[in-house]
């Protein structure tokens, strides 16, 4: 499953190595933790959701089920902020 990047906004986000993200369209900025940063970068790159979950679970030594729940919560936040669209 892939998540649609609304008007390419996620891929336009400027995210630095420390997790500071800037939306050049609205001027909003926010900070991401390490997992959030990796997740945003993977989503912006168009990676499949299952693949992202597996990579994050391995990277952070967590259960796949737990990571999947966190990822969905995070995606919901991105949708609320108009950075992501519906799943496709």
């Amino acid at each position: 499953m892939q998540i649609q990047d609304t008007q390419g906004r996620l891929s336009q986000l400027a995210v630095n190595d420390e997790g500071f993200a800037f939306d050049p369209q609205t001027g909003e900025s926010f900070t991401l933790n390490d997992m959030g940063r990796r997740l945003v970068q993977a989503l912006a790159a168009g990676d499949a959701l299952d693949e992202i979950v597996d990579v994050l679970a391995e990277r952070f030594s967590m259960e796949t089920r737990e990571v999947r729940a966190d990822v969905w919560d995070f995606i919901e936040q991105l949708r609320i902020n108009n950075l992501m669209g519906a799943e496709s």
Binding site: A14, F22, P24, Q25, T26, G27, E28, S29, N82
Partner: protein
């Protein structure tokens, strides 16, 4: 190009800054213009008078209310004694005078680059819905009121909260009918009638600065988000943004009105929708922000005024930060004395 003498108004760099210092700073940065800047002040305490690294010479000028002849005579005196090739008025209240006097000033060799009367009336706060339609954006509901009964009715129709705005300046948020009443009285006492009651739209304030060439094209646009504002609603920190829809809407406005001169488009981005709040027919006080990211609009405007070639600025980087700060200046009292007694700086 020989040295140009450019008059700039609005050199009041106070807690409610006027655009003049930003304009002067931008003009000085364009070294090819080789400009001498004349500050046109209404009060001997306007800080720009004392900022001689931007303002080469300052003159007192009469308020527009003193009448057409008084101001033309003063500009003529300045031209004769110091030189004056171009004037960049930056205050709303001056624009009707400079627009009306455009041909007369041109005949005596003082150039301006301003919208015409019709264009100016188009951006009256009362005409906002029409302008929003031209730009293809939304507009908050609004009503024009001149008394308490109309105000009460307007607030009931629009729903709280609302903005209470003067015809030229001043805007206050009101969350109750009583607050709206109080702001109405304040605005009327200071700025007169009519008063504009506008539905308050919650969202991010995004503004665009630009200059139109009078043919439907722009000479450069820069969009910003206000990150932090003062108690008077003036920007203190901001960031450049690249909001495609907002910039396109601005281009539609410039094209539809064939805008001539500087402008600022004030918008609120709410639920990804652009809402037009106001269009100012002049540079905003943060004009130097655009210059700082490579889009020197005051220089473009002056070049357009003198008929020099202007290359439109196509792009600017998003994510550039703007931070205001306060500063102090200590100088001899003689400067102030000369402004008061002679009407000009030393």
């Amino acid at each position: 190009m020989s040295q140009l003498v450019i008059g700039v108004t609005g050199i009041n760099a106070s807690d409610n800054p006027a655009p003049g210092i930003g304009v002067a700073k931008s003009l000085k940065l364009d070294t090819d213009l080789d400009a001498r800047i004349v500050g046109l002040a209404y009060d001997a305490m306007e800080p720009g008078i004392y900022m001689d690294w931007f303002i080469d010479k300052a003159f007192m000028v009469p308020y527009p209310t003193a009448g057409h002849e008084a101001l033309v005579a003063r500009l003529l005196y300045i031209k004769a004694t110091y030189g004056l090739d171009v004037v960049v008025p930056t205050l709303d209240s001056e624009l009707p005078f400079y627009i009306q006097a455009r041909d007369e000033l041109e005949q005596i060799g003082i150039l301006t680059y301003l919208p015409d009367k019709k264009q100016l009336s188009l951006r009256d706060k009362q005409s906002l819905p029409r302008l929003a339609a031209l730009a293809g954006v939304e507009v908050p509901g609004q009503a024009i009121v001149t008394n308490h009964a109309e105000l009460t009715h307007a607030v009931q129709q629009l729903g709280l909260p609302v903005m209470v705005k003067g015809p030229l300046y001043s805007a206050h948020k009101a969350y109750t009918q009583q607050e709206a009443m109080a702001h109405f009285s304040t605005v009327v006492a200071k700025w007169g009638y009519p008063v504009i009651i506008q539905k308050l739209i919650q969202g991010d304030e995004l503004n665009v600065i630009g200059v139109g060439d009078g043919e439907g094209n722009d000479l450069g646009l820069v969009a910003i988000k206000k990150m932090n504002v003062t108690g008077l609603g003036k920007i203190w920190t901001g960031v450049t943004v690249n909001h495609g829809e907002l910039l396109e809407a601005t281009r539609r406005f410039v094209k539809a009105t064939r805008w001539r001169g500087a402008f600022e488009m004030e918008c609120i981005l709410s639920n990804n929708q652009v809402n037009l709040i106001e269009i100012n027919p002049r540079f905003p006080a943060w004009v130097y922000f655009a210059t700082g990211v490579g889009v020197n609009l005051p220089a473009a405007l002056v070049r357009q005024a003198i008929g020099s070639a202007v290359s439109p600025s196509e792009t600017y980087p998003a994510g550039q930060l703007y931070v205001r700060y306060t500063d102090e200046r200590v100088c001899d009292m003689a400067l102030f004395q000369n402004m008061v007694t002679q009407g000009e700086s030393l």
